[in-house]
């Protein structure tokens, strides 16, 4: 089985639903170590994405078409750092998904491109209590799964589990990038909101893959 534009649409809508359901949680996480707007920003951004999907005249023909629309919409509608960070991640991911439906290796390439976009834009390294700390283990798990011949769904499921663990593990980290870095030592003991929303995005990808591809 491979994952095509239909999956990408389902993934995007489920992500929007997850941002709605976790809006308050993300706001609270960000209030503890940031400016408290991450939940609101992600909710607003993905709501705008869904509105754009609803208004599409032609159905998208590739996964990349969907991801590019997500990228440009998030950049325009998410006010915080998450806008350019997610925007660049989706844009890079779109570039490698513009032709074929995704097999296991295609999913890995998409996730790798997403992580690369976040690193290029945010210049963060693993261990600095950012989105990178969810994406880095997710990509590593995806690479390992694909090497063993896993299906796209299995690759995404492995990535989602690793992203969730990575997000949890940000609790003990000291923030050295982003708004939380102003707090210094006081950032320790709180889970990073960007890593948390990243895990939600990747989990939504895995769940929808299981639905459409099994």
């Amino acid at each position: 089985m491979t994952l095509g534009p239909e999956w990408a649409l389902d993934w995007t809508r489920l992500t929007a639903q997850a941002m709605t359901e976790h809006r308050a949680e993300l706001i609270e996480l960000d209030r503890q170590i940031g400016d408290g707007d991450h939940g609101e920003n992600m909710f607003r951004g993905f709501s705008a994405v869904v509105a754009k999907l609803d208004a599409l005249a032609e159905p998208p023909t590739t996964v990349g078409d969907v991801l590019k629309l997500v990228a440009t919409t998030l950049m325009s509608t998410v006010g915080g750092a998450a806008g350019p960070l997610y925007g660049t991640a989706y844009l890079r991911a779109a570039k490698v998904t513009m032709v074929d439906d995704l097999d296991g290796a295609g999913v890995v390439a998409m996730l790798e491109a997403g992580l690369e976009g976040i690193v290029v834009r945010g210049k963060a390294n693993p261990g600095e209590k950012t989105m990178v700390d969810a994406w880095t283990p997710a990509v590593a798990a995806a690479v390992a799964a694909a090497r063993d011949g896993a299906t796209p769904t299995e690759v995404l499921t492995a990535a989602a589990g690793a992203a969730e663990q990575g997000a949890k593990d940000t609790k003990d980290l000291l923030a050295t990038k982003g708004r939380a870095s102003y707090l210094g030592e006081r950032s320790i003991g709180h889970i990073d909101p960007g890593a948390t929303s990243s895990a939600l995005v990747i989990r939504a990808a895995a769940e929808t893959a299981a639905r459409v591809a099994g």
């Binding site: 400016d35 707007d37 609101e40 920003n41 607003r44 950049m75 325009s76 998410v78 006010g79 915080g80 750092a81 998450a82 806008g83 350019p84 960070l85 925007g87 660049t88 844009l91 834009r121 945010g122 982003g178 708004r179």
Partner: protein, 238 residues
């Protein structure tokens, strides 16, 4: 009045009010320079991809170059994302300054007003942080009583006394910096570069203080005369 500035400024902030306020402050010292505030989002605090994109397009209209100043982290990220997606001919004429928002905007605006090019305007913005960081320990040149004009090694020097009570605060400092920028001469006041509004403000010179003005270069005597007229006229405040 110099020729229309070839470098515009775009001030990117999370806050609409902060961007507007900084633009207003900088514009006061640099009439005619295009200074575009790009602060906030339609939803409130934050940085807007669309607003920054539109501001950059407007700032670089008609072949102008533009220097962008930013406040907190995501202002930089959003600006970089815009530059990733903007047309190459626009991107080639835009520089992102790593500078303190307010001080950098003022310094860049005055440099642009004086006709500085793209890299020089960015350098003026980026140098603004160092100027203020050193302000607390800056040496103050002691006042002396020797007067009149003294020719020294091809240049000229003159001592003046500040007439207006507030001395070299922002507006007069900007007036002097703009003025000396128009002469083919290197002018210093109490040892600092008189073409730098921030260096002049850093002197903290108030009414009654003596200034040692030195000029070197072909226009040195004309520059000294102009500075003397402005100082002795109390910048219209005395």
């Amino acid at each position: 009045m110099s020729a229309p500035a070839s470098v515009a400024l775009v001030l990117v902030s999370h806050s609409r009010e902060l961007a507007r306020g900084a633009a207003e402050l900088a514009a006061q010292m640099a009439p005619g320079v295009v200074i575009l505030p790009a602060g906030g989002t339609p939803a409130g605090l934050g940085t807007s991809f669309d607003l920054i994109f539109e501001s950059l397009v407007e700032a670089t209209d008609g072949g102008r170059a533009a220097v962008v100043l930013t406040d907190l982290g995501s202002a930089v990220l959003t600006t970089e994302a815009v530059l990733d997606l903007a047309d190459e001919d626009v991107v080639a004429r835009v520089r992102l300054a790593d500078a303190p928002f307010v001080e950098g905007a003022v310094a860049a605006a005055v440099a642009a007003y004086g006709g500085a090019g793209l890299e020089a305007v960015r350098a003026a913005a980026e140098g603004a942080g160092a100027v203020f960081a050193g302000a607390a320990s800056a040496p103050r040149v002691a006042a002396t009583d020797t007067g009149a004009v003294a020719d020294t090694a091809g240049g000229a020097q003159r001592e003046l006394t500040l007439r207006n009570p507030l001395g070299l605060h922002a507006r007069p400092a900007a007036e002097l910096a703009r003025m000396v920028g128009g002469f083919d001469a290197t002018v210093t006041i109490n040892g600092v570069d008189a073409a730098s509004v921030l260096e002049l403000m850093k002197l903290g010179a108030t009414g009654g203080q003596h200034l040692v003005v030195r000029a070197d270069g072909p226009d040195s005597s004309a520059a000294l005369d102009a500075v003397a007229r402005a100082v002795e006229g109390g910048f219209g405040e005395a």
